[in-house]
Every structure is written in structure tokens, then in C-alpha cells.
């Protein structure tokens, strides 16, 4: 197409004619507008803005023009290419945006579908309830004491003011190791831990003792031969039964809600004197069900109180056997069953659910109670 630039006379070069340039722009703009995908737009770009596009070819002709015409044609072609670039850019952006939006729509999934690839685990509620109780007492300045489950009779009974022929031993049905004379039992309560603690620590002693305990009860809805207790022991100067009551009230309201208090009833335990049975104000009806047949309470059987545990002031005989001077120190102890606490706190109706290990029981309790 090009001719030798042998003359200064303007040479009419068709592609550089304003009409041609305008036509190229119009064609390009139209093609750009009709491109519906980025791929189509890419083809349009090649055709109308590529190296072989009409305007690119026209551009090459400029060099052959006389100097005056060169500038004019250069401006014209440059402006035309700029328009096309702008149109391409605009269309490109719009198509990208459309594509991005379409992709997001196309990638839509059913988020209601399950994703239970990894089944959930859980800790046993007896474990976590025990921890919760323990944490409460740690906050009150206690430490956790533990002891063996296979225990010497001396710790389980003798040191707790239950000499060998004591009737209390008839009442606690004890598993004996090997023979009834072996001096070794499965501990029937966590109280031997109290003795162990007093023998190894000097007052002030503030300990909470959780653990597994054993009695020869057949498993049924309300009994299990293997159960857990948590006991508290405080030995210090000037400790009174009012301190016991205050501690239990704080315990009750922290575990069961503001205003839930405790009631002490005189009772007998060998290792405490005075001793008391411990009742918890029903945290469901708060006593409103008593003598009120219209509003019966299942949690407390409309008694208004729930039997919770036992407590008392540590018997001086136990202090003496544990090497603590009862003239200088006094103390209190309390204990309750964790199974029972779980039963009424969480509405467990059958003791067997807690011991059988059915995962359907445990999983809903998750990591904490």
C-alpha cells in the first residue's frame, strides 16, 4: 500500500482519510458493544486494536506523509485509537464485573447441607460438674486434695472415729480387698483424703476433695456401687459452724442461683461433731410448691428442700488422730454426691444413664456443664 516518499506533495492515503478513520472507530465501537463475553472482547481487541487492526496499519502510513500532514494524521489516528482503547476498557470492566457476579451466583451451594465429617466429642458431665464445683472453691482460696481409691481401713474408718466394731461400719456397705481382715477397702467416701491432708499439711487448711467412691449397692435407678463425692475441709483458728453455713450458702447460690440457701438438720456422722444433714432450697420452686397442690414441684417433690449432703464441725478425735491440736484449731467438713447433684441440677432421672457410657447421654453436655 505504501508508496515511496519521493515527493513533498500531499499524497492521498486512503486509510488515513478522516472518513476511513471514523469508519474504523465506528466499527470498533460497535464490535466492542456487541461483545458479550471477555473472550469475544479479546477477539474484538485483536481485530480493532491489535497490531493488524485497520488503525494500526493506518498508523504506519503516517510516516510517508509530508511533515505537515503527518501531524494532522497522527493526531487523528491517535484520537481514534484512544477512543477505541477507552471503549475496550470500559466494556472490559463491565464484562469482568458481570462475569464476577455470575461466578458468585453459579458457585452458590446449599449451606444447609450437613458437614458432620468429624463427630463431636464430649466430656462426662460428672467430670465437668466436679470441675465446676472445684473451680468455685478454688476461687474461695481452696486447693484440691486427692487420695487413693483402694484405701487402708485405717484412713477410711479408724482415723475418722469409726473404730472396728462401730455400727456405722455396718451402715456403710464396704467392698473389702482380698478378705474382710485385710485392712484394705475400696474407699466408701472421700473423707480419708481429709485425714491424709491433715497429716501432711499444717493449718490453715482449705481443701476440696473430689473423687470416686464405692459401696456395695446394686445398680438401679437411684443407686450405683461406684459414685463420686466432693468434700470440703477447712481447719483454721476460730472456725465456727457459722462459717460452715456461710460457705454452704455461697456454694448453693453460686451453683444454683442467687438467693438459693441451705438448711442444716441435726444428724450423726462419726467424723463430725456437731453434725448436720444439708438441704438445698429447691432452686425450681424456691419453696412455693409446699402445701400448694396447684403448683407441684417435681424437682423437690413439693418438699421445698432437696437433700444434698452431710456436714459438721470436725470431731476433735479426728483432729487428734491427724496430729492437729483441737485446743488451737477447729474446722468444718462437708460432702455431697456429684451424681445426685447432677441428677437434680440437670434433670437426670435414672442413675444408670450416668454409668452406662451411652454416648447419646454424654454428648449433649459438651465440654462443660
Amino acid at each position: 500500500m505504501s508508496a515511496p516518499n519521493s515527493s513533498f506533495d500531499p499524497v492521498e492515503v486512503t486509510p488515513l482519510h478522516p472518513d476511513e478513520v471514523q469508519r474504523a472507530v465506528d466499527e470498533a465501537v460497535s464490535a466492542i458493544a456487541t461483545a458479550t463475553t471477555l473472550d469475544e472482547l479479546k477477539a474484538v481487541r485483536l481485530a480493532h486494536a491489535g497490531d493488524r487492526s485497520p488503525l494500526a496499519l493506518a498508523n504506519r502510513e503516517i510516516g510517508a506523509l509530508p511533515p505537515q500532514a503527518k501531524a494532522e494524521a497522527g493526531q487523528r489516528v491517535g484520537a481514534a485509537r484512544g477512543k477505541i482503547r477507552a471503549a475496550l476498557e470500559e466494556r472490559g470492566e463491565s464484562l469482568s464485573r458481570e462475569r464476577d457476579e455470575r461466578v458468585l451466583v453459579e458457585e452458590r451451594v446449599d449451606v444447609t447441607a450437613p458437614w458432620d465429617i468429624r463427630p463431636r466429642g464430649a466430656r462426662h458431665p460428672l467430670t465437668t460438674l466436679q470441675e465446676r464445683i472445684v473451680d468455685l472453691f478454688i476461687g474461695m482460696g481452696y486447693e484440691v486434695a486427692e487420695g487413693p481409691e483402694v484405701e487402708a481401713e485405717w484412713f477410711n474408718f479408724d482415723a475418722l472415729n469409726m473404730p472396728p466394731a462401730h455400727p456405722a461400719r455396718e451402715m456403710t456397705d464396704t467392698f473389702f480387698i482380698d478378705s474382710a481382715d485385710s485392712g484394705v477397702v475400696l474407699r466408701t467416701h472421700t473423707s480419708p483424703v481429709q485425714v491424709r491432708t491433715m497429716l501432711t499439711q499444717t493449718p490453715p487448711i482449705y481443701v476440696i476433695c473430689p473423687g470416686r467412691t464405692f459401696r456395695t449397692d446394686e445398680l438401679d435407678a437411684t443407686h450405683t456401687p461406684v459414685f463420686s463425692q466432693v468434700e470440703g475441709l477447712v481447719i483454721d483458728r476460730g472456725i465456727t459452724m457459722a462459717h460452715l453455713k456461710g460457705t454452704l450458702d455461697h456454694f448453693a447460690s453460686s451453683m444454683f442461683g442467687e438467693g438459693i440457701s441451705t438448711r442444716l438438720r441435726p444428724h450423726h456422722f462419726s467424723f463430725t461433731e456437731p453434725s448436720a444433714e444439708l438441704d438445698l432450697r429447691c432452686f425450681v420452686c424456691r419453696g412455693a410448691s409446699v402445701d400448694n397442690p396447684d403448683r407441684p414441684c417435681r424437682t423437690c417433690s413439693s418438699e421445698g428442700w432437696i437433700e444434698w449432703g452431710g456436714c459438721g464441725m470436725v470431731n476433735p478425735k479426728v483432729l487428734i488422730a491427724s496430729g492437729i491440736d483441737p485446743e488451737e484449731y477447729s474446722g468444718f467438713a462437708f460432702g455431697m454426691g456429684i451424681e445426685r447433684t447432677l441428677m437434680f441440677r440437670h434433670g437426670v432421672e435414672d442413675m444408670r444413664d450416668m454409668v452406662e457410657g451411652d454416648v447419646r447421654f454424654t454428648v449433649p453436655f459438651g465440654l462443660e456443664v
Binding site: E143, F175, D178, T240, I320, A321, S330, L367
Partner: protein
């Protein structure tokens, strides 16, 4: 102790408006545990009348049963007789323990008996039975099913209301008596508490009898510690056919005892009233003086329940010239027992050492009404009065003549005196008491008080309160009578706590980590059958076979205590599978019991308790106990990652078990070394021993197929068990902050061909070692075996990440590290680079 309100009201001047419910509440408030208030006879309704059996005809029926067709005179309720049949009503009765002329209880049509059982005239055995002749149990009194209730003549006249005549309605308090309150096993003791609770007068049914000059029957007490009081009194000419009055029968029944015969009923009645168990001998069957002594081992006695029992030399015996005639305080012998012909009766009222009786009762498994009282402590001053009360009743009700003379063998009565500071109550209870109130409360329970030194008082404890021993016991008496509800509520001074110990924190962490990894915690019983050791395939000399044995297991099948957590987990897994669970991951944490090889102690050490035990004594006690390590174990089966709409899941494998162990170790801040092992109950080719440094802490892997079959577990179940005590560091491990390079990483993948038995961990270790400090990590990402490698070869593909702390690695440096790593792997494991 069952306490009829009608009886209690005779001994306590209760205000008339006070009912059983209020009495129960007050007694509970002072510490007597009233478990129930039984409204005996409350359900009785309609016409219950006395009736006299006029005639009866015995008829045998086709079902083999013989019934009596009776005419019964029921007074004003009679219907006119016709056709030569006498007046009264026709009633069919199945019992045979009555005669014509006997007085009985008749429920007329319309009457309602306990259980809502309504009586109507009904046709039976070919007659219209116009009512029912009742047994005591049908009337709700006692559990006597042996026949109908034949009443004494004194009961009343035909037609009279039976409920009133027989006192069939009464409220009964059922009190669970704690071991310290033996005195509450008597009407007298409960009445005294009740009087104190209501602050009303108490009528003591016991009074000291007149002295007697002579003795009754000769007695020799050879053990005055075990038997400090022994009283005998006797009667002659007792009419053995005389019957207990209705009021006595009814009180015995309400108290839960069965009327037997007048003489026996009197001994029981006096026991209920005074708390003093009595024994009645037929005097004609006694030979020579009564001797109270310890048994000789091997001596035998036929007790009155007709069982021949062999004595232990700790048993206290009552003997006469013929040998043993009773186990003191527990049960009498058959040879001297009174029976339906006895006319001359010797009554024994004794006081025994409580532990001696408790041991005998337990040894012979004879927990009688008497032994229950003696074991808890009987009033040591009531023997003469109780014996007197019994013989007076025998005389009045049974026509006996009281023999002169009373045998009393008694040591000096030592009144226990407690030197007591009345302010001890305020100090212990946290509530201010004035001394006079303290003294007042103590006097209410029968103490006598005299002043001591420096504001203290001397408290003489009454004979019926052997439980009052030290100051604290008196504090409790004052506190309970004053009322526990008055104790203020205040918190003790708050100490400082160092919180949980490291071991306690680690246990929580382990539990959370396993639960977070999808394991569900279980708590199994530690009781095992010895058969599980075989089922687990344990070698014969495996230490896990050495288990503690319970002397009294709940089930004879499971007498052992666990030495490993695995069988309990297996059983729980099987239970869950049986209930339809397919994919399970369970864990348990708890103690196992590992007895040492030592001998059992024939005489276990039992330090005294009136002082702190010595270090030697404590060591001796400690030596009784087995090692009780804290363990954690998991078992898993089914899919570890579930199949679902996303595709196929991943089955639980040996690898998951080992990974669980690693997670536990991580939680404890230690790292595990995994070593190939063969160890039951694991699959011999899929079992890892787990080490921390040079300590074996547990095992993990897939279970042996035989074990899976024996325990009926899902196929390919895997498990691990770790000893947490060994695993957990004794001291806190403080993690040092890592220092790491921010220069670019160089990634090198390489595949090595090794013999199939070369362990990947060894190859990885060699690569790391060979590569040196520039190796950041080595990770096995593919394992391949196939024909092109040849038999017995595996290809292990590793991804190495290399990085320098201070510059970007050059290609040359990377090439050197790679070559060094491969060279070490070749040298150490025989690996060849796969090209």
C-alpha cells in the same frame, strides 16, 4: 424405731392440738430422723365390727380347698335367722385357726379395707358370703398372714365398732436412728427428746424397784468388762395359755413386731418401752449357775432359730452347767428357751460392751432387735427396772407369782463427767450463748450440772447417753436443741490458694483435648472378670493379670479390680454398638490398681487414734496399698471421618489411636517416640510402643482381630492406653519462644526406595540429620509399593523445607543439603533415591 403416737402421748404431755406431723417436724429439728409418718388404719371405712363365730361347717371343694361356712353373730348387724339357721350372718372363711365361739373382726358389706379393697356380699363356694372375717394384715396391722385375727374375750361384744375397740387407727412415726443415739431405740428415749423439743413434761415409765434381800439365780460373770451388769428376776406358776392383751398386741404390731405369746410379747414390749433387751429362760431347763464368759474357739450352740453355730473366742457367751445357752446380747439358745408349756420363767436384763456385741452380731449375721440396741449402747442403769417391769407384767397378765430375790452382778457405776466450758458452744457455733441457757439445754437431756473451776461446769452425763463423751458432744446437744436454723451464715477468712496442681491441670487439658478431637468420655466400673485377661490374649506372666480381688464383689463373675482401662472401654463400646451406634470414639481417664508382688499382711497395721501416728506407722499403713496410677485410654471404631454427601469418609485406624496418644502427650508438653512393638491386646503388626525419653508410657494401634472378636467389637477397632503419671512432667515445662527465619523457604521433594521393613520414622530422621541445620521440616507425603519397585520394597516420598536463618538459600546450597540428606538416608537405612 416405729413410734405409735398413742403410746408416745402416754409418756409426753403433748398439747392436745399437736398432731403426728408436727411432732415429726420437731423431732427432725432436734436430730431424730423421722422418715415417714404412717397413718395406720386411715383407709379403713364402713362397718368393721366385732363378731362371734357361732357355728361353722367345713366344706371341701373341687379345687382342693377346704373353706368354712360360718354363722357369725355381729350384734345389731345380724339378719334374722330362718329355717333353723341361727341368727347372724353367713360368711365363708378360708382360714382354719379359729373355733366356734371365738371373737373375730368382721368387715360387713360396704366396709373398705387398706388398699381401697371394698367388701360386698358375694357369691363364693356356693354361698352368699355376707362379709369377711379379717386377718391382722387385711386390717393393715402387722404382716401376720397366718390366719384370721382371733380376739381375746376382753376385746368387746359382737356388733361393737372394731376400729375403736381394737385401736386400729393410729399414726406411727418411723425414725431412722443414727448409731450414736441408741437411746432413741426406745419409747422412753424418743419421749424424752419429744418432751425437750416441745418443752413439756416427760413421764418416765421407768422407776427404780424396791431392793431385794436375796439373789435370784446364781450367776458368775467372768468378764466384767464385756458384761458390767447382769440382773436376773424370776416368776413361778405363769399360765402359759394366757394371751397378750389387745393393747399390747396392737402396740407390738404398730412397732413392727409380731405378737408371739404373752411371755415373749412382754419381753419385747418392755424392750420397746425401755430400750433394754430382755431374755426369758425356762427355769426348769437351766442347770446350775449361769456363767458369762468368752467362748472357746469351736464351741457350738443351737440358737433359738434352730441353727447350730460355731463360736469364735471373741464371742461373749451365756452358759450354764450344760454349756452355752446364749450368745450374749445377740440370740438365746434353743435348749433353755421358753415355750408354750413354760410356767417358771427367769428374766435376764444385762448390759454388755457394745463393740463385743456388734462384732458377734456381724460375725454370726444375726442383726436382732437386741443386738441392734446393745451395739448402739443401752442405758446402763435400767436393767433392774426393766426386769422388774417384765415380771410385774407376767404376774398381772399371766397369773404368775413373783419369786423373791434378785440377782444383780454389777461393777461400780461410773458416771461420766465432762469438764466443760459453756462458752465452747459460742466458740464452735458462732452464735453467742449465755451460760445459763447452755446449762438449761443440758439439763433437758438429763445431764446434771455442778460448777467447776474458772467458769467451767462439771457435766454428769446420764446413763442412757454413752455417746456423750467429750466437750464437742455437749456442744452438739446445745446447738441442736437451740435449733440449727439460728446459726448465722458468714464466710471464713479467705486464704490464698495456689490453684490446681500441674497434674490436676494436665488431666483437665487431656480431657479437653480428647473431647475436642471427637472422643466421648465414659466412666466405667473398675470391676472385671478374670476371663478378660484371656480374652485380651495377655501372656501368662503378664503383670496385668495380677489384679486385686474383692472379698465381697457385687457379682461373683467380676471379682477383680482393673489393671488396665481397656476392658471397661471395650464393654462400653459394645453396649453403644448394641444400641445402634456405628462410629465411636471413646475415652476414659481413671485409676487402675496394680498390686506389687509382695505378700498380703495377715495382721494389717492399725495405729491407735488417740495421737498422731508415727512415720513408721504411716509407712506400714501405706505399704498395704497397691500402686494406683492414673491412666488415659481410647478405643475407636467405624468411621473416624464420616461418609456423606461430600463423598467417602475415612475409617478409624491404628493411626488415629497413635495420634490420640500424641495429642495427649502434646497436652502434657512432652513428645512421644513411637516404636514398633508386639503387645497384647494389639495387632502384632499394628502396635506401637510409646516412649517419652527412656520411659515406656503406653501402647497404641489396631486391636488384635481375636480380641475384637472376643469382645464383640466392630472390625478394625483401635485403641491406646497411656500412663498419665509417667507421661506428665513433674515440673512445669515452660515453652521457650521459637526463633524463626523470615527468609524464603526452599522446597525439595524426593522419593526414596527402601526395604519394606525399614521404618519411615528412621528415614525421616536420617534425612533431617543429614540435611543439617538448614532443614526446617521433613514430612512423609506419599508411600508407594508396586511391581516396578520389586518385591519387598517401598517408596517413601518426603517433602523437605529448607531455610537459612540469615540469607536466601542459593540453588547450590539447596543442592548440597539435599544431597547430604539423601546420602545419610542411604547410609543409615539403605535407601536409594528414586529417579
Amino acid at each position: 424405731m416405729r413410734v405409735p403416737m398413742s403410746w408416745l402421748s402416754e409418756l409426753v404431755a403433748l398439747p392436745p392440738e399437736v398432731g403426728a406431723r408436727e411432732v415429726a417436724e420437731r423431732l427432725i429439728a432436734v436430730g431424730l430422723e423421722v422418715e415417714t409418718v404412717d397413718h395406720v388404719g386411715a383407709e379403713l371405712a364402713g362397718s368393721l365390727v366385732l363378731g362371734r363365730v357361732l357355728t361353722f361347717v367345713e366344706e371341701e371343694h373341687s379345687n382342693g380347698k377346704t373353706v368354712r361356712w360360718c354363722r357369725v353373730d355381729v350384734g345389731e348387724h345380724n339378719e334374722g335367722g330362718t329355717d333353723g339357721v341361727p341368727d347372724g350372718r353367713g360368711i365363708v372363711c378360708g382360714a382354719h385357726n379359729f373355733a366356734e365361739g371365738d371373737l373375730v373382726v368382721v368387715a360387713l358389706p360396704g366396709a373398705v379395707l387398706p388398699g381401697g379393697f371394698e367388701i360386698s356380699a358375694r357369691k363364693t363356694y356356693g354361698h352368699v358370703s355376707d362379709g369377711m372375717i379379717c386377718s391382722p394384715s387385711e386390717l393393715g396391722v402387722g404382716d401376720d398372714h397366718d390366719g384370721i385375727w382371733v380376739l381375746p374375750e376382753s376385746a368387746g361384744l359382737p356388733g361393737q365398732d372394731a376400729v375403736a375397740a381394737l385401736a386400729l387407727r393410729d399414726d406411727v412415726l418411723d425414725i431412722a436412728v443414727t448409731p450414736d443415739r441408741g437411746y432413741a431405740l426406745s419409747m422412753r428415749g424418743v419421749a424424752r427428746e419429744c418432751a425437750a423439743a416441745f418443752a413439756v413434761p416427760f413421764v418416765d415409765p421407768v422407776s427404780a424397784p424396791d431392793p431385794e434381800d436375796a439373789s435370784s439365780w446364781p450367776v458368775d460373770v467372768s468378764d466384767e468388762v464385756a458384761c458390767d451388769r447382769f440382773v436376773l428376776r424370776s416368776v413361778s406358776g405363769f399360765d402359759p395359755s394366757s394371751r397378750s392383751p389387745l393393747w399390747m398386741q396392737q402396740r407390738l404390731r404398730l412397732a413392727g413386731m409380731r405378737p408371739i405369746s404373752l411371755a415373749v410379747d412382754i419381753t419385747n414390749y418392755v424392750m420397746l418401752e425401755t430400750g433394754q433387751p430382755l431374755h426369758a429362760y425356762d427355769r426348769t431347763r437351766l442347770t446350775g449357775p449361769i456363767v458369762v464368759r468368752r467362748a472357746e474357739a469351736g464351741e457350738k450352740l443351737r440358737t433359738l432359730d434352730d441353727v447350730v453355730r460355731e463360736m469364735d473366742n471373741d464371742d461373749l457367751l451365756i452358759t450354764d452347767g450344760s454349756g452355752p445357752i446364749g450368745i450374749a446380747g445377740v440370740m438365746g439358745g434353743a435348749s433353755t428357751e421358753i415355750d408354750g408349756s413354760s410356767t417358771d420363767i427367769v428374766i435376764e436384763a444385762a448390759h454388755f460392751d457394745p463393740p463385743t456385741i456388734a462384732r458377734s452380731a456381724r460375725r454370726h449375721k444375726l442383726l436382732s432387735e437386741a443386738s441392734r440396741r446393745f451395739a448402739r449402747g443401752v442405758d446402763s442403769a435400767v436393767q433392774e427396772s426393766a426386769a422388774e417391769r417384765a415380771i410385774v407384767l407376767l404376774a398381772v397378765l399371766g397369773g404368775a407369782l413373783i419369786d423373791p430375790g434378785r440377782t444383780v452382778v454389777a461393777g461400780p457405776r461410773l458416771t461420766h463427767v465432762i469438764d466443760f466450758d459453756p462458752q465452747a458452744v459460742s466458740k464452735m457455733i458462732g452464735l453467742a450463748f449465755i451460760d445459763s441457757d447452755v446449762v438449761g439445754y443440758l439439763e433437758q437431756i438429763g445431764c446434771t450440772i455442778s460448777s467447776g473451776q474458772g467458769g467451767r461446769v462439771l457435766v454428769s452425763v446420764p446413763s442412757w447417753r454413752p455417746d456423750l463423751d467429750v466437750s464437742a458432744d455437749l456442744v452438739e446437744e446445745v446447738a441442736r436443741l437451740h435449733g440449727y436454723q439460728h446459726i448465722p451464715s458468714e464466710l471464713p477468712p479467705s486464704p490464698v490458694s495456689s490453684g490446681l496442681t500441674l497434674a490436676q491441670r494436665l488431666r483437665r487439658r487431656v480431657g479437653r483435648v480428647l473431647a475436642g478431637s471427637g472422643y466421648v468420655e465414659v466412666q466405667s466400673y473398675p470391676f472385671l472378670s478374670p476371663r478378660v485377661h484371656d480374652a485380651m490374649g495377655l501372656p501368662h506372666d503378664d503383670s496385668r493379670r495380677r489384679a486385686l480381688i474383692l472379698a465381697n464383689p457385687l457379682s461373683d463373675e467380676e471379682p477383680e479390680l482393673r489393671t488396665t482401662l481397656l476392658p471397661g472401654l471395650f464393654a462400653t463400646m459394645r453396649r453403644n454398638v448394641g444400641r445402634g451406634a456405628d462410629h465411636l470414639a471413646l475415652f476414659e481417664m481413671g485409676l487402675v490398681y496394680r498390686p506389687g508382688p509382695g505378700e498380703l499382711h495377715p495382721h494389717p497395721p492399725r495405729p491407735v487414734v488417740d495421737r498422731r501416728p508415727t512415720a513408721e506407722e504411716l509407712a506400714a499403713v501405706a505399704s498395704l496399698l497397691p500402686h494406683q496410677p492414673q491412666r488415659v485410654a481410647v478405643v475407636l471404631a467405624g468411621e473416624r471421618e464420616r461418609s456423606g454427601w461430600w463423598g467417602k469418609g475415612r475409617p478409624a485406624t491404628w493411626g488415629d489411636a497413635i495420634e490420640a496418644a500424641r495429642r495427649v502427650a502434646d497436652a502434657c508438653g512432652v513428645s512421644l517416640t513411637v516404636v514398633t512393638d508386639e503387645h497384647a491386646p494389639w495387632h502384632p503388626g499394628r502396635c506401637a510402643a510409646l516412649w517419652v525419653d527412656d520411659v515406656l508410657v503406653g501402647h497404641a494401634g489396631e486391636l488384635h482381630p481375636k480380641v475384637v472378636a472376643e469382645f464383640a467389637l466392630p472390625d478394625r477397632a483401635a485403641a491406646m492406653e497411656l500412663d498419665l503419671d509417667l507421661l506428665a512432667p513433674t515440673d512445669e515445662v515452660r515453652t521457650e519462644a521459637p526463633r524463626f527465619s523470615t527468609y524464603p523457604v526452599a522446597k525439595e521433594d524426593l522419593a526414596l526406595v527402601v526395604d519394606a521393613d525399614v521404618r519411615s520414622a528412621d528415614v525421616a530422621a536420617a534425612l533431617r540429620r543429614g540435611g543439617g541445620s538448614l532443614v526446617e521440616s521433613v514430612r512423609l507425603f506419599d508411600v508407594y509399593s508396586g511391581e516396578q519397585l520389586g518385591d519387598g520394597k517401598r517408596s517413601l516420598a518426603f517433602a523437605l523445607r529448607l531455610r537459612a536463618p540469615d540469607h536466601t538459600l542459593t540453588p547450590d546450597e539447596v543442592a548440597v543439603v539435599r544431597a547430604d540428606a539423601v546420602a545419610e538416608a542411604e547410609r543409615d537405612t539403605g535407601a536409594t533415591l528414586r529417579t
